[in-house]
C-alpha cells in the first residue's frame, strides 16, 4: 500500500519530499491542540468574568509578586536543581494544604449546618463502640467460630444504634426497654460545649488516622505520640480559635481536617528517614509568602480583585439579584449527594468487580453481565434520571428531589464506571500473589480480603474518585428526579430536598437568564464547580502516580 503512494514511487526514491510529511505532522498537532486551546480560552474568559483580576490595585499585584512569586520561584528553582524529589514533595505539600483546606470547608459546613454536634458525637460513639468490640471478637477467631461472631457483631450494632427492642419491636408495638447507646448519649443531661463535641468527633477521627499513618512509618509508640499530638493540636485550636477571630468550631475543623494531616505528611517527608527538609523549605516559602502578602496588602490598603467568587458567594443562598446570589445550599447539597453516592456506589461497585474478577465462572451469564455493564456505561444520563423518577419517586413513593433519591440515581449512573475501573485495578494484581495465598490454604474470601483488595485499593480509589467527579458535574438526572432549582436551606436529612452546584448553575443560566446573572453569578458558580472538580481529579491523579505498579 505504502509503496504505491505518491512519494514512494521507485523513480522518486532518494528524493522523497519532506513537505507533505511536515505539513501533515503540524496539521495533526494543530488538530490535537484545537480542543485544548479552545477550552483554555473559554476557561480564561470565565475566570476573567468571575474573578475580575483587572479590578485589583496594581499595588496588590506588586506586593504578591514580591512576597509570593519571586521568593517562591527563586527557592523553587534552587531546590529543584539540587533535589527534584524534594521539589516534588514541596509542591505536593502545598497542593495538599490547598485541597485539604477546601475539604475542611466542606466538613465545617456539615458539622455547623447539617448534623447537630450532639447527634454527630452520639453516632460516632455509637458506631465506634461496637466496631471496637467486634475487632476484639475477631481477635478471638480461633476460639469462636464465624457464625456466632457474626451474630454477636450484628447484635452489638443493633443494640448500640437502635437499642432493645428497637424499630423491629416498634413495628410490633413493643415499647422500648433498653435505650440505644446513641439515644442514651443524646439524652444526657449535661451537654458539653459544641466545639468540644466536634473536636471529639472530627479531631478524634483525624487523630486516629494520623496515628495509624505514623505507626505505619515508625512503631506503635510513634503512632501513639502522633495521635496524641494531633488531638492536642485540635483542642488547642478550639481554645485559641475565638482569640484569632475564627470561631472555635471552624478552628477545630480546619485544624483537624487540614493542618493535622498536612503536618503529618510534612513531618514524614521532612524529618523522618529518607526525608528532604529542602522540600519543606520550599513549601514554607510558598505558604509564608502567601500569608505575608495577604497581611501586607491588608496593612497597606491595596484592594484585591473585586471577584464574584468571594466569601459572600460561598456562604449565602440564591437571591433574585445576581450580586447577592450565592452557592451555599448548592455546595452543601453537592457534598451530601457525593457522600450518599460514594456510600452506595463504592461497596456495590467494588463488590460487583470482585465477583466478576474473582468468583464468576466463565459462562453465558457472566458474559451477559459483562456486556450489560458496558452497555449501561453508554446509557445517557438523562435516562438514568428517568429511572430515578419512575422507580424511586413514582413506584417506591419517595418524595421527589431528595438527597436519597438523587444520591441513589447518581450512584446507579456511575456504578458501571466504578465497576469497570475496579475490575481493571483488580485484574492488575499479579496472579502469583493469589496463587501464593491459595497455596497457603487461604479460602477465596481470605484471598480477596488479605491479598487482592489491599493490592488493588489505590487503583479502585482512583477510579472511584474520578467517577465521583463525573457524578458531581451531572445535572440532567437531578432535574429528572425533580430536584428543585432553588433551595434556600441546606438539606439536613436524607429526605430533604437538595440542590447541587451544577443544578444551581443551570438554574441561573437557564431560568434566571439575564445579563446580570450571565456575567456575575454563573461565571462564579462555574469557577467554584471547576475548582472542586480540579481538586478531586488532582487527588485521584496524585494517588494514581504514587501507587502505580512499577513493573
Amino acid at each position: 500500500m505504502a509503496t504505491t503512494s505518491d512519494s514512494g514511487e521507485i523513480e522518486g526514491f532518494g528524493q522523497v519530499s519532506r513537505t507533505v510529511g511536515t505539513v501533515f505532522r503540524y496539521l495533526l498537532l494543530a488538530a490535537t491542540m484545537f480542543g485544548i486551546v479552545m477550552l483554555g480560552v473559554l476557561l480564561l474568559y470565565v475566570a476573567n468574568d468571575a474573578i475580575r483580576p483587572l479590578t485589583a490595585d496594581p499595588g496588590w499585584y506588586l506586593v504578591f509578586l514580591l512576597a509570593l512569586v519571586v521568593p517562591s520561584a527563586a527557592v523553587g528553582w534552587t531546590v529543584r536543581r539540587r533535589d527534584s524529589e524534594a521539589f516534588n514533595f514541596g509542591t505536593l505539600l502545598v497542593g495538599m494544604l490547598v485541597v485539604s483546606l477546601m475539604f475542611s470547608g466542606g466538613v465545617a459546613l456539615l458539622v455547623i449546618d447539617v448534623v447537630p454536634p450532639l447527634v454527630a458525637l452520639a453516632y460516632a460513639i455509637g458506631i465506634a463502640v461496637p466496631v471496637g468490640l467486634s475487632v476484639l471478637l475477631t481477635g478471638q477467631a480461633h476460639r469462636i467460630s464465624f457464625t456466632p461472631r457474626l451474630a454477636a457483631t450484628t447484635a452489638l450494632f443493633y443494640l448500640s444504634l437502635f437499642g432493645l427492642p428497637g424499630p423491629v419491636g416498634g413495628a410490633l408495638g413493643v415499647p422500648q426497654v433498653v435505650p440505644s447507646l446513641v439515644g442514651a448519649i443524646q439524652s444526657i443531661p449535661v451537654i458539653p460545649v459544641d466545639w468540644m463535641m466536634i473536636a471529639a468527633v472530627v479531631g478524634g477521627g483525624s487523630a486516629a488516622a494520623v496515628g495509624a499513618y505514623a505507626a505505619g512509618i515508625g512503631d506503635r509508640t510513634t503512632g501513639l505520640y502522633a495521635a496524641t499530638a494531633a488531638f492536642a493540636a485540635t483542642l488547642v485550636a478550639g481554645a485559641l480559635g475565638p482569640a484569632v477571630g475564627l470561631g472555635a468550631v471552624p478552628a477545630v475543623v480546619v485544624t483537624a481536617v487540614a493542618f493535622v494531616p498536612t503536618g503529618a505528611y510534612a513531618w514524614r517527608g521532612g524529618f523522618a528517614e529518607e526525608g528532604s527538609p529542602l522540600g519543606l523549605v520550599f513549601a514554607a516559602t510558598v505558604v509564608g509568602g502567601a500569608l505575608v502578602g495577604a497581611l501586607a496588602v491588608d496593612a497597606l490598603g491595596f484592594a484585591g480583585p473585586a471577584s464574584w467568587v468571594d466569601w459572600g458567594f460561598l456562604t449565602s443562598a440564591h437571591s433574585g439579584t445576581a450580586e447577592n446570589a450565592g452557592l451555599y445550599p448548592a455546595i452543601g447539597g453537592s457534598i451530601l449527594l457525593m457522600a450518599t453516592v460514594a456510600a452506595l456506589s463504592f461497596p456495590l461497585g467494588v463488590g460487583a468487580a470482585v465477583y466478576l474478577e474473582e468468583y464468576a465462572p466463565d459462562n453465558a451469564l457472566t458474559r451477559f453481565v459483562d456486556v450489560n455493564i458496558s452497555n449501561l456505561a453508554g446509557v445517557p444520563s438523562v435516562v438514568y434520571g428517568l429511572l430515578g423518577l419512575g422507580v424511586f419517586v413514582t413506584y417506591l413513593g419517595q418524595s421527589a428531589g431528595t438527597v436519597l433519591v438523587g444520591g441513589a440515581t447518581l450512584a446507579l449512573l456511575i456504578l458501571p464506571i466504578v465497576i469497570i475501573s475496579s475490575r481493571e485495578a483488580i485484574r492488575s494484581v499479579p496472579s502469583d500473589m493469589r496463587q501464593a495465598s491459595y497455596g497457603m490454604g487461604a479460602t477465596r474470601w481470605q484471598t480477596v480480603k488479605n491479598v487482592v483488595l489491599p493490592e488493588a485499593f489505590p487503583g479502585i480509589l482512583t477510579g472511584t474518585i474520578l467517577a465521583l467527579g463525573r457524578a458531581i458535574g451531572e445535572t440532567a438526572p437531578l432535574i429528572m428526579i425533580g430536584a428543585p432549582n432553588v433551595v434556600f436551606n441546606l438539606p439536613d436529612t436524607l429526605g430533604s430536598k437538595v440542590s447541587a452546584m451544577p443544578l444551581q448553575v443551570y438554574a441561573w443560566s437557564g431560568l434566571f437568564a439575564s445579563e446580570d446573572f450571565y456575567t456575575k453569578a454563573v461565571p462564579a458558580g462555574v469557577v467554584v464547580l471547576l475548582a472542586v472538580l480540579l481538586a478531586m481529579n488532582s487527588v485521584a491523579i496524585v494517588l494514581r502516580n504514587k501507587f502505580e505498579r512499577t513493573g
Binding site: 495533526l28 485544548i36 477467631a141 463488590g351 460487583a352 452497555n375 454563573v522
Partner: protein
C-alpha cells in the same frame, strides 16, 4: 495472620463455610444489580411508553388521554399544550447536533489519535493525554454556558443572523466534548497495530506519512469506526449543553440544510428537561411522553453501542 490462626482456618474454612457463602452471595448480588438496573430501565420505559400510546394503552389498563403512535413517529409538530407529540421534530434536532458534532469531533479526534500514537514523543503524550481528558471531564452544564455566552456571540460576528439559541454553538461544544472519546479509543486501536507492520513499511521506503495513513489507519479502521459510533451515541444522549445552548422552541428543521444550524430547536434530551421543568403530574400525558422520548433515546443509543461493539469485534484485524 499467625500460623495458629491459619491452621484453624484451614480446618474450619471451606468453600462452603458460612463466611464464604455470605461473602460470595454479597458479591454476586452486587454484580446482579447491573442486570436489575437494565431490566428496570427497559421495563419502566416500555410500560410507561405503552401507557402513552392509544394502541397499547388499553393493554395497560389505562383510560384517558393517549396519543397516536403513528402521529408520534411521523408527526413534525411538538406542541404539548395542543397535544401534538411529533417526535420527528425532536429527532431532527438531535440528528443535527449529532451531525454537527461529528463534523468537528471525527476529523479532529482521528487526527489527535494519529498524532498521539505515531508522532508524539513520550513527554508530549504525558502532557496531551491528561489535557484531553479534561475536555471530557468538564461538566456539560459548563459547556452549555460557554456555548451560550461566549461561542454564540463569537459566531454572530461571522453569521449575523444567528439566533441566541442555535444548533451551531451547541454542536461545537458537543463536538469538542466528544473529541477525547474518539481520540482515546482510536488511539488504543492504533497502538494495537503491531510494530512489524510499521517496520515493514519503512523497510520498503515508505515515509512516516505513508506509514501513518497507509498502514496504521487502515489496520486500525475497525477500532476507529467503533470510536465514531460510541462518540456519536454520547452526543445523542448529551443533555445539558444542548438544553442550555440550543434553546427551547421545538421546530422541525432539515438537518441537511446548513442554514438551519443558525436556528434553535429542541433535541430529545432537551425536550425531556423542558417537560420536567413544566408542571408534570405523575401519570399525566406529558409525564408519559417523557418516557416515550426516553424509550426512543434508549433504543437509539443501545443500538449504536451494540453496533460499535460488533464493528470492533467483527472487523478487528487479528495479529
Amino acid at each position: 495472620m499467625s500460623t495458629d490462626d491459619l491452621a484453624t482456618d484451614i480446618s474450619k474454612q471451606t468453600e462452603n463455610s458460612p463466611r464464604e457463602l455470605l461473602t460470595r452471595t454479597f458479591f454476586f448480588l452486587c454484580a446482579g444489580l447491573s442486570i436489575v438496573t437494565t431490566i428496570s430501565i427497559v421495563v419502566l420505559l416500555v410500560t410507561e411508553a405503552a401507557k402513552f400510546f392509544t394502541i397499547t394503552a388499553p393493554l395497560m389498563g389505562v383510560t384517558g388521554e393517549t396519543a397516536s403512535l403513528v402521529d408520534f413517529l411521523t408527526g413534525t409538530t411538538w406542541q404539548i399544550n395542543s397535544g401534538e407529540f411529533g417526535v420527528l421534530t425532536l429527532v431532527s434536532a438531535t440528528v443535527m447536533i449529532t451531525l454537527g458534532s461529528a463534523v468537528i469531533a471525527i476529523p479532529l479526534g482521528v487526527a489527535t489519535a494519529i498524532y498521539l500514537s505515531e508522532y508524539a514523543s513520550k513527554r508530549a503524550r504525558s502532557v496531551l493525554k491528561p489535557a484531553l481528558e479534561i475536555l471530557a471531564g468538564v461538566p456539560t452544564v459548563v459547556y452549555g454556558f460557554f456555548a451560550l455566552i461566549y461561542i454564540t456571540p463569537a459566531l454572530s460576528v461571522v453569521f449575523p443572523s444567528i439566533g441566541t439559541f442555535n444548533m451551531l454553538s451547541a454542536s461545537v461544544v458537543v463536538g469538542v466534548m466528544i473529541i477525547p472519546m474518539v481520540a482515546s479509543i482510536s488511539e488504543d486501536a492504533m497502538s494495537a497495530v503491531p510494530d512489524e507492520l510499521r517496520q515493514a513499511g519503512y523497510g520498503m521506503g515508505a515515509t512516516k506519512f505513508d506509514v501513518a495513513t497507509g498502514i496504521v489507519v487502515p489496520a486500525a479502521l475497525s477500532g476507529i469506526f467503533s470510536s465514531f459510533i460510541l462518540a456519536l451515541s454520547r452526543a445523542i444522549g448529551e443533555t445539558m449543553a444542548v438544553t442550555i445552548a440550543a434553546g427551547s422552541r421545538a421546530q422541525f428543521l432539515n438537518p441537511l440544510n446548513p442554514a438551519s444550524f443558525l436556528e434553535g430547536s429542541l433535541p430529545m434530551t432537551a425536550a425531556m428537561v423542558q417537560l420536567l421543568l413544566g408542571d408534570i403530574t405523575g401519570g399525566g400525558l406529558a409525564y408519559r411522553s417523557l418516557f416515550a422520548i426516553g424509550l426512543v433515546l434508549f433504543v437509539i443509543t443501545l443500538i449504536m453501542n451494540v453496533i460499535s461493539d460488533f464493528v470492533a469485534q467483527r472487523y478487528r484485524e487479528e495479529y
